[in-house]
Symmetry: C2
Subunit: 490 residues, 2 copies
């Protein structure tokens, strides 16, 4: 544990990096751009996975697994997809190493060159739709509601732990439908699933919308997204769900015989969230004392620390803790009792505060006399003396309260970071203050690109049901029927 890390105000970016590394979430590896997800970080990701996987299954999806490698030619089949994904990627060209004949270690065997290069998947639409061609003949084979948990690789030039890494972990849903309506409804449903997860598990409020054509997924007709606001005023895309139309079905010749005995191309969606959410989680709630984790995703929800000087004082404390631990576990609450004598209580307080454990309980000899315990909340750093007999119920309620409080706090932050701008000057000035800027846009890709080039801000989303409001584009002055959401983003 180390407290010598930057404050948010000093250097937000450095604070984030320090926190991720020093809180044992992840670290850089010997391989450029690839991270090691450490056990504490992975435990949070596992909780995310479990919650999402349950939601996917509750909405009728099943898991499957498709190959890591994709033949190079597959990327050429969907015209816009290749532009978006085939460029920066890891290319496998050989399948064997051999001893250097000159005795200089091992070298790539030039005789083991692949006939066709393989791309390490940056996303799996192509290989999956190549597979679906054999799975789908008639409407009876539809819908296909498949999800995959996998690693993917995108050769990013500038990487940051969790937020942008060459390899990352994610889930990608790939569904096939008989009608456009059904596919659209699926894409919308998964946006709702992501929203539910972000808000009720991560305690991160999100805005729902659709992407402008410039920001759309390569190969999609429509990209739905959820956008979150970080503490530094930058937006973060927390999940996307794509309506792919018949693009991939056409590219991979996937047709079905409808109920009406018509041959038609299949309709598709894809949707995904990744370990990037770990970055959003850290940046939404954590503070200058370290991590702050929402109870629903905390690997340890409650830590109990005994306070004692003499060895014989530990026995009675541990007895009480034993009863409390059982009561908490019976409620499905994860508890750690740290009775190590190699560290002081003060060191432990700092350690678990830094690691974002939502509730800390301290029990000393005087507590044993009084039948009490000290309960400290990580979210607002307050403490309370609580009768030990009612502690299990108290903590169960407190965890719920912390979960809600974190969400409310993040929502206030987000709301205070959401502003309107009606002129270019106002737009630029407010952008520099950070946050979402609601502004009018003339609806053209050219204007969006110009605004991006001038300010680094992009359209984060067009609201799903935009409030009609006649206005003038902040850049061109051309008419606009409603506002869209701009921000600088991760």
């Amino acid at each position: 544990m180390a407290k010598n890390f930057s404050s948010r105000e000093e250097n937000y970016s450095q604070w984030y990096n320090d926190l991720v590394i020093k809180a044992d979430l992840a670290e850089n590896s010997a391989v450029r751009g690839c991270m090691v997800i450490k056990p504490y970080g992975y435990a949070i990701w596992e909780k995310m996975q479990q919650a999402l996987d349950t939601m996917f299954k509750d909405t009728g999806h099943v898991n499957a697994y498709f190959p890591l490698f994709i033949p190079k030619s597959f990327f050429s089949k969907e015209a816009s997809h290749v532009e978006g994904f085939a460029k920066e990627c890891a290319v496998v060209t050989h399948y064997r190493l051999k001893n250097d004949p000159n005795g200089k270690g091992i070298i790539v065997d030039p005789d083991a060159k692949l006939e066709e290069e393989l791309i390490v998947r940056p996303t799996s639409e192509t290989i999956i739709w190549d597979t679906y061609r054999n799975w789908i003949q008639s409407y009876r084979d539809l819908p296909i509601l498949v999800n995959q948990w996998a690693n993917v690789v995108r050769w990013e030039m500038r990487t940051r732990l969790f937020l942008r890494t060459a390899e990352f972990l994610w889930q990608e849903g790939h569904t096939a439908h008989a009608t456009s309506e059904e596919a659209l409804a699926e894409a919308r449903q998964m946006l709702d699933v992501y929203t539910n997860f972000a808000e009720n598990w991560m305690a991160v409020p999100v805005l729902k919308g659709v992407k402008s054509p410039n920001e759309r997924f390569a190969g999609a007709i429509e990209t739905f997204c959820i956008e979150a606001m970080m503490q530094d005023g930058k937006a973060l895309q927390a999940g996307t769900s794509h309506f792919l139309g018949q693009n991939f079905a056409k590219a991979f010749d996937v047709k079905f015989l409808s109920k009406e005995n018509q041959l038609d191309y299949v309709w598709a969606t894809s949707w995904g969230v990744s370990t990037r959410l770990m970055g959003a989680l850290v940046m939404s709630h954590s503070d200058d004392n370290g991590l702050v984790l929402p109870p629903k995703l905390a690997p340890i929800q409650v830590v109990i620390i005994p306070i004692y000087r003499k060895a014989e004082q530990l026995g009675p404390i541990s007895e009480k803790v034993d009863v409390l631990t059982k009561a908490l576990k019976a409620k499905g609450i994860s508890v750690k009792y740290d009775s190590r004598d190699s560290y002081t209580p003060g060191w432990k307080f700092n350690e678990y505060e830094f690691k974002g454990v939502p509730v800390r309980v301290a029990i000393g000899p005087r507590d044993i006399e009084n039948g009490t315990a000290e309960v400290a909340r990580r979210d607002n750093l307050t403490k309370e003396i609580v009768p030990i007999d009612s502690l299990a119920d108290y903590i169960a309620n407190l965890l719920d309260e912390i979960q809600v409080n974190l969400f409310e706090r993040a929502r206030s932050m987000r709301n205070s970071f959401t502003k309107k701008a009606d002129t270019w000057e106002e737009f630029v000035a407010k952008l520099d203050e950070g946050g979402f800027i609601q502004a009018h846009w003339d609806g053209t890709s050219e204007t969006e690109q110009k605004i991006k080039d001038m300010t680094k801000a992009t359209i984060r989303l067009i609201p799903l049901e935009p409030e009609p409001e006649e206005g003038r584009c902040i850049l061109t002055g051309n008419p606009s029927p409603h506002r869209v959401l701009f921000a600088r983003a991760y």
Copy 2:
């Protein structure tokens, strides 16, 4: 569903392939040697993962994630490891594609050549021990008990679904310890965990032992293994646990300060099981009617099929089924009620038999009158009429009974396939009958290699506690202190 597939006697190998594909477990993909694990197959793998993951955590392990790519130079650091793994592997040499200037699609960009090639991990000892160097300073940092669920790639020339694929899914445990004894105990503990899983979840009896030097993991001091016997008399290695000594610590310079203030290299283990277990599962229990799944790993444990001619007969059946389903689910039993009218009961019977669902319940109008149901077991294909009111308890017991029966049946099969041979002629003859051959061996690698060259049989294991018995090597006649286990193997 399709019954037109080979019988085991006709062609065991074809029977296996047909079954895996037609039962929707997996199929070959467009990428040579890489499989698609289909939802039904993946659901079984998920059950395996859950059971193993719980066992790993119960023995103190945590999960983490390390990079997919390993710098080529890492493989040269552990001398024997490079021989075993770096040869047949996927090599990433470039990180970008570009449009062909001649307009022929996309090509690898020659300007985007990596300075050092990256190997897609065939196993992760090297990258993990390179990481552990920074995690370990003193004995206080030990032990490290980490597991990883991941995909790995080994460029196999001849592949078979699940049994040998270029990419496969697995878990790999990598632990670090302060003493040799502790590391050895860990390696042995994980062998016991694998044994427990194989026998009590997969219902596959296994023999425990150590590998001969020829069959040892590249870089290990000792490789512990469990070996199973398939219905065709061939052995299958179902899991390995390696005591790595200080080999990787020395290769990656991982030292720790002991309690006694001495600087020493760290002791290591690694252990893994893979989607290969899916192959073992299929080949252990299934028959000429299709899959047979042990209840503990069956995605659907009970299927209920209504038998009716007129639509109005379905209502009363469904009512009864509703009560039954709730009672079964309350016992943690997974149930599917297939009331689709687009398929006949006969078709459904075949379908679920083929898919290996352990228990089938059929309920028709006469059953409603009599308060009964027909219960069919997949393992021995017997049927029973059971009072519907006691059905939930009956089925719960039946599932346990089937689990035990499958194990016992597999054990009888294995035992009848285990024979002694004392002469070369006897050895060769019995080998051709299939199964494990207990025979004397002179303990040399040369003899083992000769036997392999002559018969394709390898030493599957040397028993952990071999029964002392003076004998003569079946090939050389040299003295041998105990028998070892030979077999032809997958």
